[in-house]
Symmetry: C2
Subunit: 423 residues, 2 copies
């Protein structure tokens, strides 16, 4: 079916792939290793937070009723009966006319119901037997009540959430020294093509160095997969079948680059005609990368990306990253597209939606999508500048500067400024 492929949309292609994916099992890791992993189950608050009434500032714990008459001119004097540091358990219950020095995070003494900060007392720098209270306090003022932030038993993080630094903090607070996480999917990776040299090989006429494998390996790891690199594969179909079958035993998904088009030696394209293979898709309504292919072999998915570096990069973001996130059990498998105003006109006709590499620009609260001026998909030199894909719909007229376009953000925006003149 070299020249008679059935074209489907990016959406349909991704759907066909995702519905064939299982989910990884789980494992426990020490919390120190949990950053960037995916929670394998809901996590609960093991205690109230805070788990005792505490002071949110440095000052004096008082009985509010004792401060009713206090003013800057006529401060109320209270007897200081104790100093309570963070970590201490107070030993003295406050009686009428008494106060305790209390530090940020320290436990409120019995009898106290309000806290005044040092700066609102007389002579805040002095440590003395008495304190002058310069304003009245309401019961409960400046007291962090037990459980006011989080009640014991509340869900603090959900299954399928990425564990970020904030998640680490809340898990540590509730004593989760070990965290149940989803096992990282093992993503096999190889390139096809006898023209490929390794990075440390000298160039010879007709051949080029393999750039896709190192690029994809970095992206796989960054997306949360374990990249397993296999040697470049020759273009012999029988050898390829045997090799891929062996590799598939070791991985959850196999990602290849190259060999998907209509060339005489395009082994991944040829493979889709074999009886052992179940084709998921091999022609997608998109530029670049329309021959991007996926098939099932030995019950496992192969995602065969284009060998063109730009198309390979796009194919990773459209198909491989969601695959890794889905296998990882992530809540959000697909990046939400947003809308932005096109920063410069792009009027080149295209029969399919075109994904331009670029970046987001912000001006007075309005989002602009700046296409990289070098639109050549194969241009290796500008891959590193890409932070998003700008989707130009199919058709003959493209989009004008200022038109709203769909944007797929694939990297953290660096909020670069716009290139070229302002609109």
């Amino acid at each position: 079916m070299r020249f008679s492929r059935q074209m489907i949309t990016v959406e349909d292609a991704l759907h066909r792939l995702l519905e064939r994916l299982g989910k990884q099992g789980s494992e426990e890791v020490h919390i120190g290793e949990a950053y960037g992993r995916t929670l394998a189950c809901d996590m609960y608050a093991t205690e109230d937070l805070p788990h005792f009434d505490r002071s949110p500032l440095d000052g004096f714990a008082v009985r509010a009723v004792d401060t009713v008459a206090a003013s800057p001119d006529r401060p109320v004097r209270l007897k200081v009966v104790e100093t309570i540091a963070a970590g201490d358990v107070p030993t003295v219950a406050l009686a009428e006319g008494c106060a305790s020095r209390i530090m940020t995070g320290a436990m409120l003494p019995a009898g106290a119901d309000a806290i005044i900060m040092f700066e609102q007392t007389q002579q805040p720098a002095a440590i003395a037997a008495e304190v002058g209270i310069r304003r009245s306090l309401k019961p409960g003022e400046n007291v962090s009540r037990r459980g006011e932030e989080i009640r014991q038993g509340t869900i603090i993080a959900h299954e399928g959430e990425n564990i970020n630094a904030g998640t680490m903090a809340i898990l540590a607070t509730f004593g989760y020294a070990h965290v149940p996480v989803v096992r990282k999917p093992r993503i096999g990776l190889l390139s096809t093509g006898v023209e490929l040299l390794d990075v440390d090989q000298p160039l010879i006429p007709g051949k080029i160095r393999n750039s896709n494998t190192l690029m994809l390996s970095a992206l796989i790891a960054e997306a949360g997969g374990i990249p397993l690199l296999f040697p470049n594969m020759p273009d012999d179909l029988e050898v390829a079948k045997g090799t891929l079958t062996e590799h598939l035993r070791l991985v959850d998904v196999l990602v290849t680059s190259g060999g998907v088009s209509v060339g005489d030696y395009d082994v991944m394209a040829a493979l889709t005609d074999e009886p052992e293979a179940e084709l998921l898709f091999n022609r997608i309504a998109m530029r670049p990368g329309s021959p991007t292919t996926s098939l099932m072999l030995q019950g496992k998915p192969i995602i065969a990306l284009s060998g063109n570096p730009g198309a390979c990069f796009l194919g990773f973001e459209l198909f491989v990253r969601p695959t890794i996130l889905s296998l990882s059990g992530r809540q959000e498998v697909r990046v939400r597209t947003i809308q932005a105003k096109l920063a410069i006109s792009y009027t080149k006709p295209c029969p399919y939606p075109r994904y331009l590499r670029g970046w987001l620009v912000e001006e007075e609260g309005v989002l602009y999508a700046q296409p990289d001026f070098n639109e050549k998909a194969g241009n290796l030199g500008t891959l590193k500048n890409s932070e998003c894909f700008i989707i130009i719909p199919a058709g003959g007229s493209g989009k004008q500067a200022g038109d709203l376009v769909e944007v797929l953000s694939h990297a953290m925006p660096s909020w670069k400024v716009r290139e070229g003149k302002r609109l």
Copy 2:
């Protein structure tokens, strides 16, 4: 100077810190380990890219002059003299009336000056001794010329750039098996306070588990530093001086959390009065985290963050991340603030600029900044939701929904939808 600190702006504080930082030396790493590192020098194209005239598609290499009369109705028939796969060196120069089958990425044969794709020939699926060319070609059509993407000697990536997946690809293409990168800075990390328990210790009255160290450790590693965790430090000033002096020998910068306020046991605050210490700042016009402190000791910077988890988190992004990026020699040390429309009104008065945690929302190309509804800085449970800080200027009236506000984006936007009703 417990109650008489000099207040400075966030900008000034960061400036005072950054001007005291040196730059790390460099080292060579294998390209497989280079992702996320910072380039230590400019990198150059070692060859032209492509380094030979090549075909960007699967088809036939021809002499354009032979195709002048070709049309769909009257195809020109050419003799096929060779098949050139990617990686091959062509062996036959094209004579008049001849063509070579040529695959994507393959070297152009001598004599050829244009390429026609299979689909524009007669019977594209057949491999035959002749080919029917169904349209005329211009000289140079569909030929990727040597050096057309990048000329030998061009800078392909600059000193101080982060090495992302695209950088990996271009470095691999030019044969950089080893890459000069800036050494990762060693960031010491400890918490102060006897109230802190480790994550695996049971809670006891008055004490809490340490959440800042694990959170900061994850953030330091993510920002490109090597976190070195030291034990919690007691609040004895003399012991602290000795301990910190020892730790500083092992690190480039020391980050602490806690002990910066006006409490009786705030050891980091007390340290700034010691003759060995040179104070950089200890009061910043911001909420939360105004007592965030920095000092030089033994010629090395200490950044003493607030122990309050929300203030600690903010202090990391405002001061520690730029420190790590600066030590790493990164081009962009500071995150550019952007503007967005405030999604909901925030009218609480504040004497200093207030940094609200939140996230960016996009609606029809307009950016909105959505504050997290729980504004309590100490609220550990919502740290994980934060993707940006929304800066509410000092003053009595705050900002209304729809007002433009400054936003500091600290994590990749997940483009969540807005909470609450639409404007």
